[in-house]
Symmetry: C2
Subunit: 365 residues, 2 copies
């Protein structure tokens, strides 16, 4: 269930915040995969979309989105090159790249079409997943240019922001990496048009808002655009990281109490709801309180999850909810939930208000 | 990718093993959700299917499966009662029940159709999820009978078998619970037709094969049928629990090396493949070695997972696989992978041999 008023408020708030900082907003659509939500983001001023796969790009391009960044270090085989060329015929398509090898391979397979594909060199700003060190960015950019690709700048994903106390540290490391990577490209003679960062935990933080005198300096953020995704919905991770309030959470999973579990002493202790990993996803970082939260019961904890069952520990001394009661579950990681359902129900002021298809669900490649 | 020869061997082996023990086999179809696999299971002698939801039952019934057990303590509202009645018109439908309240509610909503729905009372055999203690089974059965439902017996899921060293202990607790629950129903005057247990870790274990003199006794297994699911494919959990060999694993996720990650010292250390939680699922029990395994590289470990990236730690001193190399990933929990994809590729002797639709994907309710 998506509360459309909360969704719209989240979209408007992020649009205003990025505009106030002079940054372009290119929301990550892997979070929602829904055409109607992309339309709302673009109407609110987003310059285009970010996606994770060529398949997602195809779905949104077909629906009329003209400017798409595939923020992934693709290994572009010949069939994928054909798909990228088709996408680039009528659209502005940008792709991530993080090695000379992948740039050369992509350029070779794109052939004469390489010049229509822009690339951003991916930087590792501390998440230590994909991406190169900023000092290695120019070498990748040179390989991309040699392969005929249009080098447009740099990007990074500060995924290490997903831990308590980390968002501010991560946003500073991100800013440092982007600045240094962009400087390396400029020094190598490239015109840097795009310096792209952002995650929902960091998107609302300004790295220059610092109490740390070693960091503060008289300058603006290095980046030119932000790519947050989860902000449209919020989820239990964002809440537990302090990055959203319960009132900001637009998506919940409607679930039913199906079973009361008695303790060894025969006392009612926990209960079971019919939302499991096949709708909530099973992401559970070590710092999370459980496998999601109950929106209307902040003291409850979801302590176990299987495919169709979640085990809820209830505050001691309180009567358990009756079997049959409906409870709203906030998933830990909302991107996984949207990738598990074919459609979503819309809610306005508590009443059903339509449905949206999850058009790009399952487009993993 | 599903290796059809391995799939067929797994199906035949479980069919033979249950037949040799005089047990009926009712495979859990939530694992695969594929009509063609259900057909193969039934052709090999399965008496019917187990499913988790009414939606899954509808998909398989429409395809001609006539005997279906929804092994879940459903809270049957009026719309769900209408769906169950429709299913029961031409099929044998059995539903789980674990409280007098849910039995009464289901019976009331089914109305005159209640007598066509068989119920099995769910027992908690040590997993402590849903299910009642065996000594409480007769009270639930009486409520079901009072509500007009056809009480057929008892069932349990020994989910606590999913931990190293636990399968044999779990299968004995399962057997004890089933025996005691069935005895309670018989003592209360019910004719117990079905005593249903099983999980893939326990299905190949006979609780009477015991080295424990306190357990061994001169009798057969209590159960009459088994409901394993994962055995058709195998997965990394089953392998790490010692319940299957690599040669038994029928399903893998084709993935591509997309990025090499350098250590702080600039040395190649790990690499990134393009299979993430959106195809592998993110189940990761504490005892697992990681987020799945590489079928052809037993010493590699998948140490981190995000939506479209898995981080692979490679044995020290070995050269990393090249970018672009294809690797076969074994998911930790194959039921989640099948629920993430709309179709699967079939492989025979290494060559592509067709595709199957995942017909019941996403049928969560």
């Amino acid at each position: 269930m998506i509360d459309v008023d909360i969704l719209d408020r989240n979209i408007a708030r992020m649009a205003a915040a990025t505009q106030a900082r002079g940054l372009r907003l290119r929301p990550h659509a892997k979070t929602h995969k829904v055409l109607e939500i992309a339309e709302r983001q673009l109407a609110a001023g987003a310059v285009g979309l970010t996606v994770a796969t060529i398949g997602e790009a195809e779905v949104f391009a077909k629906a009329g989105v003209r400017d798409i960044f595939i923020a992934y270090p693709l290994w572009v085989t010949a069939p994928q090159a054909a798909r990228l060329r088709a996408l680039a015929e009528a659209n502005s398509i940008t792709v991530g790249v993080d090695s000379a090898e992948s740039a050369s391979f992509m350029g070779r397979n794109l052939g004469a079409g390489a010049g229509r594909i822009a690339v951003l060199v991916e930087l590792d700003s501390g998440h230590h997943r994909s991406g190169v060190r900023p000092e290695d960015a120019a070498a990748v950019a040179r390989a991309a240019a040699d392969a005929g690709l249009d080098v447009a700048g740099v990007f990074t994903f500060p995924g290490h922001s997903y831990a308590p106390g980390m968002p501010m540290a991560a946003v500073r490391q991100e800013d440092e990496a982007l600045r240094r990577g962009a400087d390396e490209l400029a020094a190598a003679g490239f015109t840097v048009r795009t310096i792209s960062g952002g995650s929902t935990p960091t998107a609302s933080l300004d790295p220059t808002d610092s109490l740390d005198p070693a960091y503060s300096r008289d300058r603006a953020t290095a980046g030119t655009e932000l790519r947050p995704g989860v902000y449209v919905f919020g989820d239990a991770q964002q809440f537990e990281l302090g990055r959203c309030e319960p009132a900001d959470i637009a998506l919940t999973v409607a679930s039913t109490v199906v079973s009361h579990h008695r303790t060894a002493a025969g006392e009612p202790g926990r209960f079971i709801i019919d939302a499991g990993s096949k709708v909530l996803g099973s992401d559970r970082p070590a710092w999370a309180s459980g496998y999601g939260r109950l929106l209307d019961h902040p003291d409850a904890r979801i302590t176990a999850l299987s495919e169709h069952h979640a085990t809820v520990e209830w505050p001691q001394g309180l009567a358990l909810p009756d079997r049959g009661e409906l409870l709203r579950v906030v998933p830990n990681h909302v991107c996984l939930t949207m990738n598990l359902v074919d459609e979503v129900s819309l809610v306005r002021e508590g009443a059903l208000a339509g449905r949206w298809a999850v058009a790009a669900r399952g487009r993993n490649s």
